[in-house]
Point group: C2
Chain length 503, copies 2
């Protein structure tokens, strides 16, 4: 067979697999937004069929033949070419998929479906023992998974690689350790400052319909294209990139809490702006797909935190918010508002954490997951280990497992290896922002005028459009000239909090 033909067929089959996956994305979005209550049983059958067909497409032996055929194609050997990146990442996905025994894949699907239900009930009832058998099964299966995939240094590497291709436990551990070493004193200084923002201004009357209008305006301002996307309401907000021209985000509104929806919308819009910038002509193949979960999260954190929790952003948007919510905001000064949305406060629940303490929540989970997968920690000992580590990091002990090791859905979904990507996102966001400020000059001036186009275009060009041409680490090196470091995030946090807390 002609090598060009083989490459073309490989691309066509890969696109088809992605196209089927994007059908499942529509069904998944529908399930969480508009599906009638009684449709859930049928929906799970539809999703099961699509998952099976998708797995069959991904692991068809023809893909292996085509990969062998194209491997010494000169275009594929050309460094930094589309061909090279596509073949590298198709090969990675194919090899991961065929290494996993079909029985293990199906067992994981079955167990995690039921485990999510069990977790929900166990959390509700604050009953870790009810969840323990499921956690044991999942840890057991994920250990089998890591053995099947294989790893160089530690079994956790094999799981991490699913979400952050090419990253290693060792490398992440080093950056996280440095981050914690500097973050802990910063958080302690903040606590010792005795200063507190007027948090109550966030908890006034914010009518839902006006939150929606305001949120849409803000999302559009930072660059979310509503002609190629939507904003809907769900219990758990998410972003779903269906495909070119169709990227959807969701939020939830609390009529007595302003920042839940607005920062949620900015966060999801950050993910969506990334998806909307992926090159449509490469839909479904690696160079048209997002780089990694860490890089994806860097884009949501960039717009939510680096931009959306900044003073310049609110110099522009607070007057607009006052028009939308006159009774809640008429007496609120910019400084008070800015301080309120940047309150730092150790707390038990990760999803409610501020920008600084958030990362300690992640590091705790990252360490426990490694111990669970290596076998150093038994699932039955997870609550004690959690609480002990929590005390060390936060000088607080969770009053119960609901506010401790039962709080997150991830383990019940089999998502061990996922958590570190959240802090990687914070780190990449800070490092990219440093570089953007160097390249573009006075970005704060833009934000004060409600202009976000220069930053968005920079991200489009540097971070979004390359897709998976480079892995996350190399992308970071290329965009910022440096490997990933904890320093930009630390500098950014200290720079923000020092004046607020007088430290």
């Amino acid at each position: 067979m002609d090598k060009d033909q083989a490459y073309a067929e490989l691309i066509q089959r890969t696109k088809e697999h992605a196209l089927l996956g994007s059908c499942a994305s529509v069904l998944g979005w529908d399930e969480r937004t508009y599906m009638p209550h009684e449709g859930s049983t049928h929906r799970s059958e539809q999703m099961g069929l699509l998952a099976r067909l998708s797995h069959e497409m991904l692991t068809q032996p023809r893909i292996g033949e085509l990969l062998a055929e194209v491997q010494d194609d000169p275009q594929v050997k050309l460094k930094d070419s589309n061909h090279a990146a596509n073949v590298r990442e198709i090969k990675r996905a194919y090899e991961r998929a065929v290494k996993l025994p079909k029985e293990l894949v199906e067992e994981l699907a079955r167990v995690t479906t039921r485990a999510q239900q069990a977790w929900q009930e166990a959390r509700q009832a604050n009953d870790f023992q009810a969840f323990l058998p499921w956690l044991e099964k999942i840890v057991h299966l994920k250990r089998q998974e890591s053995q099947a995939i294989g790893f160089q240094a530690t079994p956790y590497d094999a799981l991490l690689d699913e979400y952050e291709p090419g990253a290693t436990t060792d490398e992440i551990s080093r950056v996280f350790a440095a981050l914690r070493a500097d973050l802990a004193p910063l958080i302690a200084e903040i606590a010792a400052s005795g200063r507190k923002p007027k948090r109550d201004i966030l908890e006034r009357e914010y009518p839902v319909d006006r939150q929606e209008v305001f949120g849409k305006e803000a999302a559009a301002a930072i660059g979310f294209n509503f002609q190629a996307g939507r904003l809907d309401v769900t219990t758990h907000p998410f972003c779903s990139g269906v495909g070119p021209g169709d990227v959807r985000i969701t939020t939830r509104y609390n009529p007595r809490h302003f920042n839940e929806s607005i920062f949620g919308i900015l966060h999801e819009a950050g993910h969506a702006i990334y998806e909307q910038a992926l090159p449509a002509e490469h839909f479904g193949v690696p160079v048209g797909s997002a780089c990694s979960l860490g890089i994806h999260e860097s884009q949501s954190r960039m717009w939510e935190n680096q931009v959306g929790r900044g003073r310049p952003f609110w110099e522009h948007f607070l007057p607009k918010a006052k028009q939308a919510f006159p009774s809640a905001l008429q007496d609120v000064a910019l400084d008070d508002w800015y301080f309120a949305v940047n309150d730092v406060q150790p707390s038990f629940v990760r999803v409610e954490a501020d920008e600084a303490t958030y990362n300690l929540h992640i590091i705790l989970r990252f360490e426990l997951e490694q111990a669970l997968i290596s076998g150093d920690l038994l699932p039955q000992d997870a609550p004690a280990a959690w609480n002990e580590k929590f005390q060390q990091s936060f000088q607080l002990t969770p009053p119960n497992d609901k506010l401790g090791c039962l709080q997150d859905i991830h383990w019940s979904m089999g998502g061990i290896g996922y958590f570190p990507t959240y802090t990687l996102g914070n780190l990449y966001a800070a490092q990219f922002m440093d570089q953007a400020r160097q390249d573009l000059g006075d970005l704060d001036g833009d934000f004060r005028r409600g202009e976000f186009g220069r930053l968005k275009n920079w991200l489009n060009e540097k971070v979004h459009r390359p897709g998976q041409r480079w892995r996350a680490g190399e992308l970071c090196q290329r965009v910022t000239g440096k490997p990933l470091s904890h320093q930009p995030l630390l500098r950014y946090l200290r720079g923000k909090y020092a004046p607020l807390y007088g430290i």
Copy 2:
């Protein structure tokens, strides 16, 4: 192979094909309701893939082997059994599908996608010549289709059979001829009566949000289950049965026209009540699927016309409508309202036609389609033939093709053979209603009290739950004890219009 095993595998493969089709239903619904504007190109690629996979599933040679295997299974030979009906109809669908050359299927898909676009533009511009090449292509392909499928009496039979399995052109022609012979004098008497309702009462201020509340209340009252369904807004209303627990209808609201949305909702709810009653355990196989388009349409017409345009219905609902729309309806008497929603008036456009003249629109199309497929009428002569027949039926000539042969989307979609099912629906609805009144006694008393459960339960049992156990003609015979006849519809129409028009 064991015959039970063969049957089980046949059923499982048939269900899987339907399950994949139901994924496409969700995408189709989404496309018309919430899909972002720029998502349409990607959506057509998704739909193309699902159509191809679905066709591959339907025509896999394994189905042919399994059908051969089970054909002399005693359970399959048992008359009126689930096994017999399932195998009969799976065989029919399989044989239809494998008779069609793949190239013809793909050519039809390609041509009709582009023809719909061309039709839309041609209708807009009132330019039949622009549509003519597409109509020629489609008629040519549909003639090829009928040759490939095969037929006993006339090529149109092969097309009709897609929508109304087992029905023949000859049989339908006889019933339609009898209907026209009696309908024409009725319509003439109505015209000669000189009476006209006060139509303006339908064209007052009807705020859209209250129409929605009122429409939902009415749909729920007649038996649409909103826990297992939804009502949304689209330009062209439809009902989509995704699967058990998930049946969705749509409507459009006109703030200055009351009856468009309310009768549209009752119509689609009629379809949906049928879908919601199909036995969930048989999802995807013939005994769990709707019988035919004619029977489906009988259910929408039943609730829209037989019930929804009846005086008893409005005895219950007009007081409620007055509460919802006080300024529009405070001075409106029941008799005036009842007359207004039953105005008979020859008109050019089928979708705006009343219950009586509607059927003449259908008979005209039925006759033209037969002539196009037999070759007696060339597509280029369609406008002249249309106008001539229109003059004969309505004593009116369409002023242009936009109000004539360009008005309907069906031909551009390749849906030749579809139109007769609309009048079959009217005929079946009247015949079923006659029987329901015989079986259940005073149904009008129920309707006056806003009670529709006895009729719905009767339809569930007699018409809905059998699925495709019997073909439409036999179902009619079993439910009403008689073959399909034009007399119940005629009697119903004369019974309604005689007092209104004093004829």
